[in-house]
Assembly symmetry: C2
Homo-oligomer: 376 residues x 2
């Protein structure tokens, strides 16, 4: 059994995880399991907590509010830096979530910094896509909102969109935080990153086609296709509306079907996020870090808590069979998939095509099951 | 030779064509040819006349500004009633264009009034799609902008679109001009009409999927697919930007690829506009009406100008081989296709896949050719 007794830290906007773990001062036992939660349709619906999810999550903390068992959020969502998302989740769910505990669809983009660090790249999607990429270390990132402002008439429907001005001002701020490029319309775009769900599909598909078939300079003749990365590939996801909403995978499908019709070469792209193995491997690494923080170096020998101990079980709790469940299954053991009926999946029994290891009605039941199974 | 000498009519916003023809009082000879012009990429680029197009069009009028040879605009564009488009074109091109001379992509929707007159239908696209449909005689039409306002959370990205408010106020006006339905969200949508280029692709694809797979009631279970009509199916068209822009056909492709992935049954739809035969047959009928107006009843016997005379040649002047040229070719004789190099097509020689009967540099050259060939 694990008995945490770290003092409860005051709520902060940018929660510093290391601070939490540094204060561990009592005996701990190295947990042999970790949990990855999907967010939308599992703990939140839109921006409202799903019934009981906040209380259920609290069971993973000690009485004083400090983390007891390693868990994180593994989401295909995004559009804001992980620090902000952690702070937002902490407020909505009324538990302390550290930045480390947030693995978003675009988190693996960090791994591409060495390749595109000083190249001109375009960041697409809702929220603050350019700020996200800037924070990862990309020096010449421009948001699509800002990029299009350099090309007159690139979007013939722009005059029907009175919102453009509002978005551009935000985008400009992101440009200033990185190295601004004076003439992005005369500089070849080397890669486009779909960081979060695109807002203006028509414009984004149009300008992506322009960038991708011209070799990175809209208006030019055909050229070698710049790289294209998607933070996720969900066809649909569960939000506040009763029926599933179209996700980034649907946008990718729309772009691909059009690009392949107007271009000589088929669209080349890479998708991250669940159900790709990279998302689960990344989660595994973070859960290990979290466990190490819980189990202080000084206590390892005393309690036989050694770095080499592998997790016995890693639970993936999700609502989407074709994203969360198939992903966990493909990642293999120690992943154990739990499907909730609070989001995309609502049927009796198990999913026919991608059956989970366990199906439960809600995240409350899932956590109950895990804690009983683990005897904690 | 035809010598018109009708007095020049003063410019009016809603130009009354019949008035023009009633005033014909001189001898006329029945023209044996008619001309259909595409608009975008042939006479206009964006909202600017293409070099010389206005002067070239003036050659189809008598010195006093009255129509001498029957011609019309056959465009896949739209989104505003034909009366308004005629008035707009008159101003831009500095010639008198009557409502009759404007055949838009959605003009054939008039033929569907008897089928959907009192059913709830949704009108989609830029401009005033609900007003267009209302003017045709549909009594229960609602614009997509207005329709979505009845469904909370139907578009999870709406909070990133500050423009929604502005569009809705316009849409509401359109509702008032027809028979308003108190509860469109509880009434089954019987048909969706893509009247003009959709502005908000993501939302429109989402809500069309909701309507089409639920049997007309978003949020409901699967049902029989309501009818779906597109005013046109252009994959690309030439606007003010140097490269072609994505058109309604691209939107259809995006919708279809997504719908077919999430629905059990493939998308059923009907497209109007060029290159469909219906567009050319419709143009033929209108050109005949225009000719009849030029050639007054009283003068028929005198000049052997009989109703039964068929046109010897109907010229289609367009910039898009896969829309204008293939359409005219399929329509067969008396259609004669002329491809200009001012829009989608820019190559030397003829188009390899859909060769035109004649290729010219501009509409100026096209009119010059026609008038010489016809000996007028």
């Amino acid at each position: 059994m694990f008995f945490g007794s770290i003092r409860r830290l005051s709520r902060r906007n940018h929660f510093d995880a290391s601070h939490l773990w540094r204060e561990i001062h009592q005996s701990v036992q190295r947990p042999s399991f970790g949990i990855a939660f999907d967010i939308d349709g599992v703990v939140l619906r839109g921006s409202s907590p799903i019934d009981g999810s906040s209380l259920a999550l609290k069971r993973l903390y000690a009485d004083d509010g400090t983390l007891k068992f390693p868990f994180l959020f593994l989401t295909n969502g995004g559009g804001i830096p992980e620090t902000k998302r952690a702070s937002e989740l902490s407020k909505l769910l009324d538990v302390e979530i550290s930045t480390l505990q947030v693995v978003q669809g675009h988190s693996p983009f960090k791994g591409l910094v060495s390749r595109f660090e000083n190249e001109l790249i375009v960041a697409i999607g809702k929220g603050e896509p350019a700020e996200v990429m800037s924070n990862y270390g990309f020096n010449n990132v421009i948001s699509m909102d800002e990029y299009v402002s350099f090309f007159e008439n690139i979007d013939p429907l722009s005059r029907y969109k009175t919102w453009a001005a509002g978005q551009n001002s935000k985008a400009r701020t992101s440009m200033k935080t990185s190295n601004p490029i004076d003439h992005p319309h005369r500089t070849r775009v080397k890669a486009a990153f779909i960081v979060s769900d695109p807002v203006d599909w028509g414009r984004d598909i149009q300008v992506l086609c322009d960038i991708l078939r011209s070799g990175g300079l809209p208006g030019e003749e055909n050229g070698f296709q710049p790289s294209l990365f998607f933070a996720a590939d969900d066809l649909e996801y569960q939000a506040a509306f009763p029926c599933k909403r179209l996700g980034m995978g649907a946008f990718r499908l729309a772009l691909e079907s059009i690009f392949n019709r107007i271009s000589h070469n088929p669209l080349q792209y890479t998708s991250f996020g669940k159900p790709n193995l990279v998302a689960f491997k990344s989660a595994e690494g973070v859960l290990e870090q979290l466990r190490s923080m819980i189990c202080k170096e000084s206590q390892k020998e005393k309690y036989g808590c050694r770095e080499v101990d592998a997790f016995n079980t890693l639970y993936m709790i999700g609502d989407n069979p074709s994203v969360d469940i198939i992903g966990a299954e493909k990642a293999g053991r120690p992943w154990f998939s739990i499907l909730t009926r609070t989001g995309v999946f609502r049927e009796e029994g198990n999913h026919s095509e991608f059956p989970a290891d366990l199906v439960v009605d809600s995240v409350v039941e899932a956590i109950d099951y895990i804690l009983k199974r683990e005897g904690v």
